[in-house]
């Protein structure tokens, strides 16, 4: 049984063209899944189906094998936490602590448990010292962490991040990569995220879905997807710089093996250099 599964999911906005067409998506336990695609591909629309914000026009969505109903909607929203692109949409309480506590409070937890969860969530995202601050005094990166903490405090098993790197500085992106990886490794969570940043995908994802005009046009492992540069270009995307460079070197006769992450690329180049010398 998969944590999230969609079967031929279709969705149309009222008085609008189809936003999603025949989506078949699977999120197993402890996976890191990237959904990549250009602007308007339908990534955010798809994500809003994962916790029942949107209802499919046709097809179905199953959470732990069960469809979303009025009876289990609260449980589903506790199970699948969504972090939206713009943190200002998601931080609506006067202080950081109150905002992170919003979800746990809605779950009907007692004050002590809420307090514990809030401070644990703030600790995980590394902003425990910001608990008493007001959101408008925070930087973009800090706000993003508050938004993530607000969802983590509900202890979801699936964390969905919509364009998590949008508006972050390089250090913020680096921290986010470490954070996403730790959620999966330490806490066994399934992380689903959308992005345009293909270099981020190689560092974080195990499996990739490529989306265009409301459809999945490709899916597979990092290697399988990034071996199709022409397909990615036609989707207004690109192959990350490192595999692009390695492929170029291979074409020029350098005996270097293909790699997708920084660490693997470094090893591949070192090995190629040592092999030559």
């Amino acid at each position: 049984m998969h944590l999230i599964e969609t079967r031929d999911l279709c969705y149309s906005y009222p008085h609008s063209v189809r936003a999603l067409e025949g989506i078949n998506f699977i999120a197993p336990r402890n996976a890191r899944i990237a959904v990549i695609g250009s602007n308007g591909a339908g990534k955010s629309t798809l994500f809003k189906h994962f916790n029942g914000i949107f209802k499919p026009t046709s097809g179905s969505i199953l959470i732990r094998g069960e469809p979303i109903t009025k009876v289990n909607i609260r449980e589903v929203r506790k199970f699948v936490g969504i972090v939206f692109q713009n943190a200002d949409d998601q931080i609506f309480s006067p202080t950081v602590e109150q905002d992170v506590a919003f979800g746990p409070t809605n779950l009907g937890l007692d004050e002590e448990t809420i307090h514990h969860r809030v401070h644990e969530a703030l600790k995980i995202v590394g902003i425990e010292d910001l608990a008493g601050r007001v959101p408008h005094h925070l930087s973009g990166g800090e706000k993003k962490r508050v938004a993530i903490a607000g969802v983590i405090a509900m202890e979801p098993e699936v964390l969905v991040l919509d364009e998590p790197t949008a508006g972050l500085d390089p250090q913020g992106v680096h921290d986010l990569i470490g954070f996403i990886n730790s959620l999966s490794k330490q806490y066994g969570m399934t992380v689903i995220f959308s992005t345009h940043d293909v270099s981020l995908v190689a560092e974080v994802a195990d499996y990739i879905y490529v989306m265009n005009k409301g459809r999945f046009v490709a899916e597979g492992t990092v290697e399988q997807i990034f071996m199709q540069p022409d397909m990615l270009k036609s989707m207004r995307l690109d192959v990350p710089v490192l595999p692009k460079l390695l492929r170029s070197l291979q074409k020029q006769g350098v005996p270097v093996s293909m790699a997708y992450t920084y660490e693997d690329a470094e090893n591949a180049l070192v090995q190629a250099y040592k092999g030559k010398s």
Binding site: I53, F84, S93, E97, A101
Partner: protein, 275 residues
């Protein structure tokens, strides 16, 4: 107006004994003074009570270490609202007096009465004291602390949640407004620039206001979606922990309340008059 919001916030983030005082103490204090001054009958006794309360306010303001100019600026900002109401009283008779004496007669049969002037001045004293304590409260208490204090004093959870969101998005839109203004300046647009056609300026302002409305509507939609994602429902409320008042705060509150009650009662019983 938007900049006033940031100005008030800046004052509330200063450091002083008054700023550190629990919001509940300051809320009770402000409301106690307002109730006391409003409850004083419409007579010249109000001047004495008002002067005593104003002295009390000045002491608290001095403790807050805020410059008097802050008080002056905020008071002046409110004058157009209450000043006009008070000013108009001098032309009308009211239920508190039976005999009226004409002080001045103006054209078109309009008269200013001695009793009406007295009534307006009493009203002005009541307004001044009430507003002064509200200014003290809001200048020394952060908005989020005010909300928490009010909630701990029994403000209904639904109202607290709505007010909490209002505070949050007041600042979000404050920043959006600033950015829109900066964009207009970057494009050399000034609504008061007489070189530009009047209609054009009006239309551009209309676009700007319209854009703000649309953005706020869209923001509302997105916020509601994210609230639903985090389990928002009928029982939702802000997380506000219990916090007992410290000994000093209790002492300050009891002494202040005793003073606020004792002043009008004593003046009424002893017929003490400063004026």
């Amino acid at each position: 107006m938007i900049e006033d919001l940031f100005f008030i916030e800046k004052q509330a983030y200063r450091e002083s004994l008054m700023h550190r005082l629990d919001a509940r103490v300051k809320i009770i204090l402000a409301f106690a003074v307002i109730i006391a001054i409003v409850a004083v009958p419409y007579s010249i006794m109000v001047y004495t009570v008002g002067a005593t309360f104003f002295l009390f306010f000045l002491i608290l303001w001095a403790v807050s270490k805020l410059p008097l100019s802050v008080y002056g600026k905020r008071l002046v900002a409110i004058v157009p609202i209450w000043g006009i109401i008070i000013l108009f009283q001098i032309f009308f008779k009211n239920k508190y007096y039976t005999d009226y004496h004409v002080l001045y007669t103006l054209p078109l049969g309009i008269s200013i009465y001695t009793e009406s002037v007295e009534f307006a001045s009493i009203l002005a004293v009541k307004f001044l004291i009430s507003i002064s304590f509200i200014i003290l409260l809001s200048s020394t208490t952060k908005m989020q602390d005010l909300l928490q204090g009010a909630s701990r004093l029994g403000l209904p959870a639904e109202i607290a949640l709505a007010l909490g969101m209002m505070i949050r998005y007041l600042f979000v839109f404050g920043y959006i407004f600033r950015k829109v203004n900066e964009t207009l300046k970057t494009k050399c647009f000034d609504a008061f620039d007489r070189h530009l056609p009047y209609r054009y300026r009006l239309r551009q302002l209309g676009y700007t206001i319209g854009t703000m409305f649309i953005r706020s509507y869209e923001q509302g939609e997105r916020v509601y979606t994210s609230m639903l994602c985090r389990g928002y429902g009928r029982e939702s409320h802000l997380f506000i922990t219990k916090k007992p008042l410290r000994g000093f705060e209790w002492a300050f509150l009891i002494i202040s309340l005793t003073f606020i009650i004792a002043v009008p009662v004593t003046i009424w019983l002893t017929a003490l008059r400063f004026f």
